[in-house]
């Protein structure tokens, strides 16, 4: 619905013909029988290369479902998704996807890394899914650790030896080291303390600039997406309520729900709890 807006906000970098991600009339139904729910309804938007879209929604909005659809973990019922030129729709067989196409940074820093494997092994698995040999890729791994501001010695450590923020850095490195065409970050800061959130967000903003990432950044918190997004999509109850450039969303929201979201952020000018 807002493809024009997205295309209009062009960046300086050279943009390939087609956008990195096109979501067109996407509909997803979860469950069956009495438990059946429509998680997504007619959602359309695009993400051009080297651009970042922030996807905001509260619980039940379908934002995680959308991430899973892009990752191929949830089948499509109606509409289609084109990622890096590859089309996926209801009929698409569930064949394996090229890991270079899309990578997901998961939400929970405690569940995103296997407790029994070192940080180095986690990255090695991304680089070489079959063998996952950390020694073979040592220099590449160290290079990535440096990039996410972790010491090289981190490679030999196990997840429980890291703080939550550090784990998310490892998860970010793991997702980026395959150089996917698009990265989906699903609520990656929601479990962290505020100051740590800021650090991770700054790191991500920095990497975005450095690597020209194409990214879908998902959060329940409107405030979080601001520093890492070019455009913002607001999702509610499976429908896209608003899609626009980040300044426009924050300064002149068109949708009533977006305004309410903005006003609900503590500290925002519209935030009132005492009459």
């Amino acid at each position: 619905m807002s493809r024009e807006t997205a295309d209009g906000a062009a960046s300086e970098q050279a943009v390939p013909e087609r956008p990195a991600v096109e979501v067109d009339g996407l509909g997803v139904v979860l469950g069956s029988g009495t438990a059946r729910t429509e998680a997504l309804r007619g959602v359309s938007f695009t993400i051009p290369y080297s651009r970042s879209v922030g996807l905001v929604g509260e619980s039940g909005s379908g934002k995680s479902t959308l991430a899973k659809v892009l990752a191929g973990l949830v089948p499509i019922d109606t509409g289609r998704v084109v990622i890096g030129g590859e089309r996926f729709s209801a009929g698409t067989s569930r064949r394996r996807r090229d890991p270079g196409l899309l990578q997901l940074i998961p939400q929970d820093p405690f569940s995103s890394l296997s407790p029994r494997r070192t940080a180095g092994q986690a990255l090695a698995e991304a680089m070489d899914p079959l063998r996952a040999d950390a020694r073979r890729h040592r220099s590449a791994i160290e290079e990535w650790f440096e990039r996410v501001e972790l010491p090289a010695s981190a490679a030999a450590k196990y997840p429980h030896e890291f703080s939550g923020g550090q784990r998310q850095r490892i998860a970010i490195a793991r997702a980026l080291c395959t150089r996917p065409r698009i990265v989906v970050a699903d609520e990656i800061t929601s479990a962290l303390d505020l100051s740590v959130q800021v650090e991770v967000l700054e790191l991500l903003a920095q990497l975005r600039a450095e690597l020209g990432l194409t990214m879908l950044f998902i959060s329940h918190d409107l405030a979080v997406v601001r520093h890492v997004s070019d455009e913002v999509a607001v999702l509610r109850s499976g429908e896209l309520r608003e899609f626009g450039a980040v300044e426009q969303i924050f300064t002149a929201p068109r949708d009533e729900y977006t305004s309410r979201l903005l006003d609900s952020v503590p500290g925002a000018p519209g935030f009132r709890i005492r009459d």
């Binding site: 009495t34 729910t37 619980s59």
Partner: protein, 323 residues
């Protein structure tokens, strides 16, 4: 996404019924097969050790063991459908009658046993969990470990023998064997329940240690209600799911224990009968009893699933809680 489904019960019950049916069909096939897989010639065993070849063949014909397997299976299957499990090779008595006579004895000690187990282990497990919270009373911790460990490691027949020696032979306060009066039930029930009490109270204690750490227990403490009320009203309901799930397994284990304990106490239940029937190659009896035990186990399992769903509606869709 907490969509509350409107009517999960019919679907749940339907699924359970289908499972039950499937299990019964499998049981019928398996029970037919096992009797024939047990080595040894039933006709020979029935005719007697010293019988002549001719007598053995006569016996074989009399028992219908000379007929093709398919025909025997058909007889069995149609018999099962009409609740006719055939006649014992040994006594010629209808198997269903034998089972009807003996099942109540096994069922009663199993049920008394499970009731005793549930009651004692909930109280014991909770008490120990409460008393050893936060590393308090470490001696109790090890005492509990040793006591339950020893009881669990002792075979049920040794426990039974010890109980008999102490209570029946030395003190003479309870009968040593038989099923004559209500007193007769005391020792077999205790013997059969001690092991399960040990394992269940270990489970309760382990689960309770987790439950007592839960936020809602702190909430309850915040209401400053008595410790007893905290445990009885707030902790116990949350232990029911796992204890019930385990009690299904324990009931199965009790039926296994019954096989052994019944000969120690001369208990006229199914356990002794199934062992005897296997040794005597009494196929219809073996089949009938195993079919019954299996059916009871499956039915109990289903019943426990349903009770679980009543106790904790979340399991309606989520399936079973881990044992």
């Amino acid at each position: 996404m907490n969509a509350i489904t409107t009517r999960p019960w019919p679907a749940f019950l339907l699924r359970k019924a289908a499972e039950l049916l499937l299990a019964m069909v499998a049981l019928v096939v398996i029970t037919f097969a096992i009797a024939h897989l047990i080595p040894g010639d039933a006709a020979r065993v029935v005719a007697g050790v010293d019988a002549t070849a001719e007598q053995v063949e006569d016996t074989r014909a009399r028992l219908g063991l000379d007929r093709p397997l398919a025909a025997q299976f058909w007889d069995y299957l149609s018999g099962v459908l009409t609740a006719d499990l055939g006649e014992s090779f040994r006594t010629g008595q209808p198997v269903s009658e034998v089972i009807a006579n003996r099942l109540p004895f096994t069922a009663s000690i199993a049920l008394f046993g499970i009731a005793l187990t549930l009651g004692v282990s909930l109280a014991l497990g909770l008490a120990v969990a409460g008393l050893t919270r936060g590393n308090r009373n470490p001696w109790l911790d090890s005492a509990f470990g040793w006591a339950t460990g020893v009881v669990l490691a002792l075979p049920v027949y040794v426990i039974g023998a010890v109980l008999i020696v102490v209570f029946a032979v030395n003190w003479g306060v309870l009968p040593a064997a038989g099923a004559d009066s209500l007193y007769s039930y005391v020792l077999p029930t205790i013997a059969i329940a001690l092991g399960p009490i040990a394992s269940m109270s270990r489970l309760v204690r382990r689960e309770a240690a987790v439950v007592l750490e839960q936020d809602y227990m702190r909430t309850a403490r915040g209401r400053r209600i008595s410790t007893f009320r905290q445990y009885a009203k707030h902790a116990v309901p949350n232990l029911l799911a796992s204890t019930l799930t385990l009690s299904g397994l324990i009931l199965a284990g009790m039926i296994g224990g019954a096989i052994i304990i019944e000969s120690v106490f001369a208990w006229p239940g199914l356990g002794r009968a199934v062992v005897d029937s296997i040794i005597e190659r009494d196929y219809p009896m073996t089949r009938g009893i195993i079919l019954t035990v299996g059916a009871v186990a499956v039915a109990l399992n289903t019943a426990i699933d349903i009770i679980l769903a009543l106790v904790d509606p979340r399991t309606l869709r989520a399936g079973k809680v881990l044992a």
